[in-house]
Symmetry: C2
DNA sequence: TTGAAAGCGCTAACAC
DNA sequence: GTGTTAGCGCTTTCAA
């Protein structure tokens, strides 16, 4: 293994000169720098991460807490993860993947494996929030708990997303709305995004004097069919539907077609999902985009910026949703 | 920050005693052990990972190379990842997630961030294989390149999976078969599993004197429709279909129904997918299960075992697929 | 602009 | 069964 001393010897300088040439933390003469760089290249030197962490108290690794819980959309999760890893990589950081809560957080942080944390799948009253706040590590939540304490948060503004979807339908003349949303188990544990989506949707509808039925939907064919059938049976007056459930989405569309409900002729539909999901469906959907990759990347950027400043105040950033127009919404006569 | 010297002082012993009490690498008297453990608990001590890595040349971190390339089933990927992380965690290892090839491998390995590597999304002639083989780090591929060199491999035996699916249909009397498989881009880069699946399927069919059409399928509604339509147009004689494409699957089923082809009355269908995917469909599918979580876990176990033995020979482990009987295959009159 | 040297916190010989 | 101590490879202060 090549060490910094090998490089120093090869370049005819000392350890510290190599170190400073690498970090740029003090001026190095052009000539010396050249020699050092040549030595590094010739010996194919790579600093030892552990030694670096020990000496500098910085690992350049961020921990990503991604509990893989049932009912969440894997596609969305993957995009968040991809965004976090990409964003971190651009700043010279690597990502340690933590999937279980049982001690994984404390192990990674307390043993100084990571400099900071990104936490996914946040609940309204997430028990991890106080624990994370006690930790000294900078933390960014993807999601928005009721009380973020000193933690930074970033997410799509799902409340606004719910509003936007409702408003789009209302402005098209619909007054009887329904949301086929997250599975019951996700709602029951008050997963942050599901709560906020529901709230934005129902409140916007109420504000406009429209009705808003909310139907939790299981992520499966049968869940989709059950919700559609229940919708038609219990809320036959509904003409505008929002679907926020990636797995159920194709089956909802299929079931409606099967029952002779045409989109958008009989029913207007808006999906809330990433772009690629919308694009994989049978019809050109009008949708509220979930820019998951961008949000993941933003999480990394916020975290790493905080790492630089040290004492920066926590911030909450909610990305404004946008509507992607398709052909699944029609103005009501 | 609490260090091992704090613990030693608190327990009235020396550094090395604490270290050995922790590692178990030399006998400690019951009384001393008790005192050390109490001190550790009271001070809530956690060894510094970097210091440990530096002194022992072991990070207890494995790198997971998971390029998120287009066309692969995210659900399957996620399950592999979950399995790898779980398996590693059980052995006291953490997982560093690497998603891009550009230098990520060499950075993580050459700077001693990881002890070993798990590599996903392997192609038949994967350019990373020789590079990985040159590396000294133990490596396990999830997949099977044409020439694994000195690397260990683990995967579902996709060739056998293809055979099994074909044989199941053939034993039910079908002689005209088709495979709606991976997208063209996946096949074109000769992704290991797709190649092997196709080979097993076509060879088994040929052996039994059956015909086997192979139709690459895009992971979208339109891709599924295109493949089904092409199937019915170009191969109207087909009575047995295998679908190996998670996103397309529901749309394939939907399209067949829409065109009045009943399953299994008119057409028998076997899906190749994880259990949860099969369970989310509209009908009780007969399927060849992809036990992705188990395979991921196996990859970690193999890797960590090799890490222990040091000089173990590389091994190739192909998990035998099994058929999960549903109601989508019917014997041909 | 560069060098010398003191650690960072731990492991693992080598003593006893 | 336990203590002493020499590093592991790096960063960073202090000197020059």
């Amino acid at each position: 293994m090549t060490t910094i001393d090998d490089v120093a010897r090869h370049a005819g300088v000392t350890r510290s000169t190599v170190s400073y040439a690498l970090s740029g933390k003090r001026p190095i003469s052009a000539e010396t720098r050249r020699r050092v760089e040549r030595a590094i290249a010739e010996l194919d030197y790579r600093p030892h991460a552990g030694a670096r962490a020990l000496a500098s108290a910085r690992t350049h690794v961020i921990g990503l807490l991604a509990p893989l819980r049932p009912g969440v959309d894997v596609n969305v999760i993957m995009q968040f993860v991809a965004g976090v890893v990409t964003g971190a990589g651009e700043e010279g950081y690597d990502v340690l993947l933590l999937t279980q809560d049982d001690g994984a957080i404390s192990r990674a942080t307390r043993s100084s494996m990571v400099d900071a944390l990104v936490v996914m799948d946040v609940e309204a009253d997430d028990p991890r929030v106080p624990a994370l706040d006690d930790l000294r590590q900078p933390t960014v939540l993807i999601g928005l708990p009721r009380d973020p304490r000193g933690l930074s948060c970033v997410d799509l503004d799902f409340e606004r997303a719910g509003s936007l979807a409702a408003e789009r339908l209302i402005s098209a003349g619909h007054r009887r709305l329904a949301l086929l949303g997250s599975p019951d188990e996700v709602l029951r544990r008050h997963t942050s995004y599901a709560d906020r989506m529901t709230r934005g949707f129902t409140e916007s509808a109420a504000r406009a004097g429209a009705t808003a039925a909310v139907l939790p939907t299981d992520p499966s064919f049968h869940g989709a069919v059950a919700s559609v059938d229940r919708l038609l049976a219990e809320h036959p007056e509904v003409t505008g539907v929002v679907v926020h459930n990636e797995v159920a989405l194709p089956h909802v569309i299929g079931r409606l077609r099967e029952l002779g409900r045409r989109i958008p002729d009989d029913l207007s539909l808006i999906a809330v999902c990433p772009e690629n999901t919308a694009a994989a469906q049978s019809i050109a959907l009008t949708s509220v985009e979930i820019p998951a990759v961008a949000i993941g990347r933003l999480a990394s950027e916020m975290l790493i910026r905080r790492l630089g400043q040290g004492d920066a105040l926590p911030e909450v950033r909610l990305v404004s949703p946008r509507i992607v127009e398709g052909e699944s919404v029609r103005a009501r006569a």
